[in-house]
């Protein structure tokens, strides 16, 4: 670990959306004295992105991955917590600093079919960020960048329009556009998911190579653990707004600790007819992000459910491991009487979401995440 501050650091980052849809809702809430309900899309996420590191964020649809990414780039204002860029909180940024921040943070979107302006030639698409940031460039720089992302010969591509490119080529242009301002960080939102398998492999290999060559860090968001594992040094598993497990890729895959991570890994089909895969045992679907259960948000689907799960789990490092953190009550001792850690009787699997009124063990010393510092 270096003494340098991480390129990007998230401290208990939160983004809650108010679900009141208008004036009437607000008045009704006032009159009835009820709090407006929130969608807790990102709820206390901690992450440290070091230089030249690639971190993956995975989770099911609706778990808040894309909201997290949008908050990182500053499209959403966080409603809580802090986002630090090279140790400097973005909340104190001036507008010039924001502009500089956006030069240093490149973006690659999910859908190359819609993220490029159909009326911009490749040349214009790639030079636009440079123009906006008033950076000097020569045609040779653009050509070099296009060749870097595998669009060779570059002259052939400069004058083309997105409609003349295949999906993979479009995504290469999008990557070139993201890298042209020489950013420190690339934020990639499922950059390979819209592409065919053969093209997907190309883009994954390309991103792998480029992060090495350019020495950039990357946050890579995806729902597909098998592609994430090709790219990322570390993986964060997200469930309903929280990171439930964070570990180096190999550790996470070979020794997943959180029951949710275990289920995710067990659910991935293996391209081998000889392999006998044990199917995941969890049922249901992610719950409703508005009325989330108290405590651990996964508890209603969890095969290991205990009574103590009604408390918010702390981030802990499981015994015998380093550099691996998991938010699950299974992995630390609770100074409680035995009854509260015993398994809850078999419960019917529900579709999740409903708030269960479990008995809250009193006197728990578990410190909720985000308040521990």
């Amino acid at each position: 670990m270096s003494a340098e501050p991480p390129v990007l650091e998230l401290r208990g980052l939160e983004k809650h959306f108010d679900t009141s849809t208008g004036f009437v809702d607000v008045i009704r809430d006032r009159l009835t004295g009820s709090d407006p309900s929130y969608v807790k899309a990102v709820d206390g996420v901690n992450m440290k992105l070091r230089e030249n590191q690639v971190q993956g964020v995975i989770g099911e649809s609706g778990c808040g991955k894309t909201t997290l990414l949008r908050t990182l780039i500053g499209l959403y204002e966080p409603t809580g917590g802090e986002l630090l860029f090279h140790g400097q909180p973005t909340s104190e940024f001036t507008s010039d600093e924001w502009k500089e921040f956006r030069r240093q943070v490149g973006l690659v979107f999910q859908d190359p079919f819609n993220s490029l302006d159909p009326k911009f030639s490749v040349r214009r698409a790639v030079t636009e960020p440079l123009e906006i940031h008033g950076m000097d460039y020569e045609l040779a720089d653009i050509e070099e960048m296009l060749e870097m992302v595998g669009l060779t010969p570059a002259e052939k591509y400069l004058g083309r329009f997105p409609s003349q490119l295949s999906g993979g080529e479009k995504q290469r242009v999008a990557i070139a556009r993201g890298l042209i301002t020489e950013p420190d960080v690339i934020l990639a939102d499922e950059p390979a998911s819209m592409l065919d398998v053969s093209t997907q492999a190309e883009i994954l290999n390309l991103l792998n190579r480029l992060t090495d060559e350019f020495g950039v860090s990357m946050v890579y968001i995806s729902h597909d653990l098998s592609t994430v594992s090709y790219i990322c040094d570390r993986i964060n598993v997200m469930y309903l707004g929280r990171v439930v497990e964070n570990a180096p890729t190999m550790d996470l895959l070979s020794e997943p600790k959180h029951p949710y991570t275990q289920a995710l890994i067990q659910s991935i089909p293996i391209p081998d007819p000889h392999y006998d895969r044990e199917r995941a045992v969890i049922g249901g679907e992610p719950g409703d992000p508005i009325n989330m259960p108290a405590g651990c948000r996964f508890k209603n689907r969890c095969p290991e459910r205990m009574e103590v799960c009604d408390n918010k789990p702390a981030d802990v490092t499981p015994e015998g491991m380093t550099d691996h953190s998991v938010a699950c009550h299974l992995y630390y001792d609770h100074p409680l009487d035995e009854s509260s850690t015993k398994r809850v009787e078999e419960r019917p699997l529900t579709d999740g979401g409903c708030d269960r009124t479990g008995t809250l063990p009193h006197g728990s010393s578990v410190v909720p995440r985000g308040e521990s510092k």
Partner: protein, 347 residues
Amino acid sequence: MSDPILEFDGVDIEYETRGGTAVHAVNDASFAIDEHDYFGLVGESGCGKSTIADAVVGGLDENGAVTGGEIRYKGTPIQDYSEKEFNKNIRWTEISFIPQSSMNSLDPVMKLSQQAIEMAKYHTDMSKDEAVERLRELFDVVGLSESRIHDYPHQFSGGMQQRAIIAFALFLQPSLIIADEPTTALDVIMQDQILDHINDLKDDWEISMLMITHDISVVFENCDSMAVMHGGQVAEAGDVVELFDHPRHPYAILLQNAFPDVRYPDRELAIIDGHPPQLREKPDFCTFADRCPWSTQECYDGAPDPRPVAGDEEHLAWCVRADEMEELAADHLRKPEEEHSILEESQ
């Protein structure tokens, strides 16, 4: 081996386009699905796999038509059936269809029970009560709560809608189900549950399935036999295990290696350069030749004929160099050592 339930015999499918030209979406496609077999059809977007599914149930777009060859269902050619004949003899009663986007294929303003009654009315002489009762049973089969049969589709999540569609597909006890990307829109965990249900059907319902997907791992896990398509041509077809152990068409070989396997995150992924040709003319060459690292002049001199692999008539590769592939693609055919797998195998 039982008799094939569905046979494709040299089938050509064309879409007419404006200006009198045509797109030759499927060319000389031949394969057979045995009774009680799960058959996987794999290929990238635009290779013609969904066109094949549509053709089986007579659901091609208006400008599309089967222009050559024969599609036989239980031995009877069906490609020239009229709309009426398809409705009477094939659709739902014999072959049912699980479409790609389940979210859009249920009627949003009709209760699910009402949709079942409608289907019963057109295809059977079941009474309303019988139809509802049958839907209730099927909801149980696919793991949905029976109390929800009177719900509207929007009250269901994506995974539940997909289950409801499967229930409808089973409604009239068809012999064959065509599933076009049944799980593509779903999250991994839900995908796994749905596939698990689909797998259970094989034993309990004695059905056959044509499963169309771009995800080769889904086919390897769930199907008995498969075909790989590229650019409107079938590249290789045969038993799943055979095709995994001894792929002989370059595209089938590279496709396998391009697929990320979570057990081996360090493995280099194969890259398939280029893209398939536009099929304005009926291709009289191998459509993979331009992308193939091992192509020769011969590949452009006519569409390849199927060759049995190692004398196995059930395992066919449409490649002129199929016999040489073992040597040529030796680097690609080497499987990763199992000890390097980072997952523990459950046994």
